[in-house]
Amino acid sequence: MRDRFDTLYKDHVDLMYRYANRLCGEAEAAKDLVQETFLNAYRGFNRFRGDAQVSTWLYAIASRACLRMRRKRKGAPERELSLEEFIPSSEGEFHLQIPVEGLSPEEALQNKELRQALNAAIDKLPKKYKMVLVLRDMEGLSAKEAGTAMGLSERAVKSRLHRARLFVRRELSARGLAEGTHEPDHE
């Protein structure tokens, strides 16, 4: 059992830490989540039937643990996001406030203000939307894999992902800035 655990841990700890860090937004909370994830995996190893990939199984354990842990912490308020709230109503809302045209994402994110605005926007997402965005657009899971990890249908994953993307887009537009949704650090 110990050897199996060591292999599981060695092969997946970096993946789970990356996921945890994206969900929690800070290192210590992410480490707590990784520990809880592997502790639960250790206990549930014998019940893992191999229906999904091991990584998807771990994502599911981490997602459930995160929901439990975040209930105890202050986080973005839980609410449903409606499509109507993302309809632009002024000129400045159609494009991103900080231009990124012609830049790779890596080049664009060297801009500290943009990086902070992006992270603040993701952190503001209600957690069920944030999880889908992280799994699909940051961890690169398919809609089916994200659905397995979160216990959702593919359709529900796509619906939440769309709203999450629209939310982050709006936060990076002039409307996001005007509503004081993040505090850029002017160096």
Partner: protein, 99 residues
């Protein structure tokens, strides 16, 4: 020296507010993630492309949504050190023994 693609000239948006004519823009809004993920049937994609060609507001909106997704995908995250990995493993195994 980082090579940068020449920025695409931005089309001038109309001075009048975007009024989502006949609800078409709203219909497009609902489909945009599936559109940029290439998960829509060809005929729907064609309709959306035609609309984008006629509506600079929606075209700009789609571009900004694509950019947002690209930024999310490219957002870096710190990695664990070897020491942190080993320490966490010990804590997990201690917790297994103690519970």
């Amino acid at each position: 020296m980082v090579k940068r693609a020449a920025p695409k000239p931005r089309r001038r948006l109309a001075a009048t507010p975007h009024r989502h004519e006949a609800g078409r823009c709203l219909g497009i809004l609902r489909e945009l993630s599936d559109f940029i993920d290439d998960e829509l049937p060809d005929d729907i994609c064609l309709q959306i492309r035609r609309h984008l060609g006629d509506c600079p507001h929606c075209e700009e909106f789609v571009a900004s949504l694509r950019q947002t997704v690209s930024l999310c995908r490219g957002n870096p995250v710190p990695a664990l050190s070897a020491n942190e990995r080993a320490l966490m493993r010990e804590k997990i195994l201690n917790a297994v023994r103690s519970r």
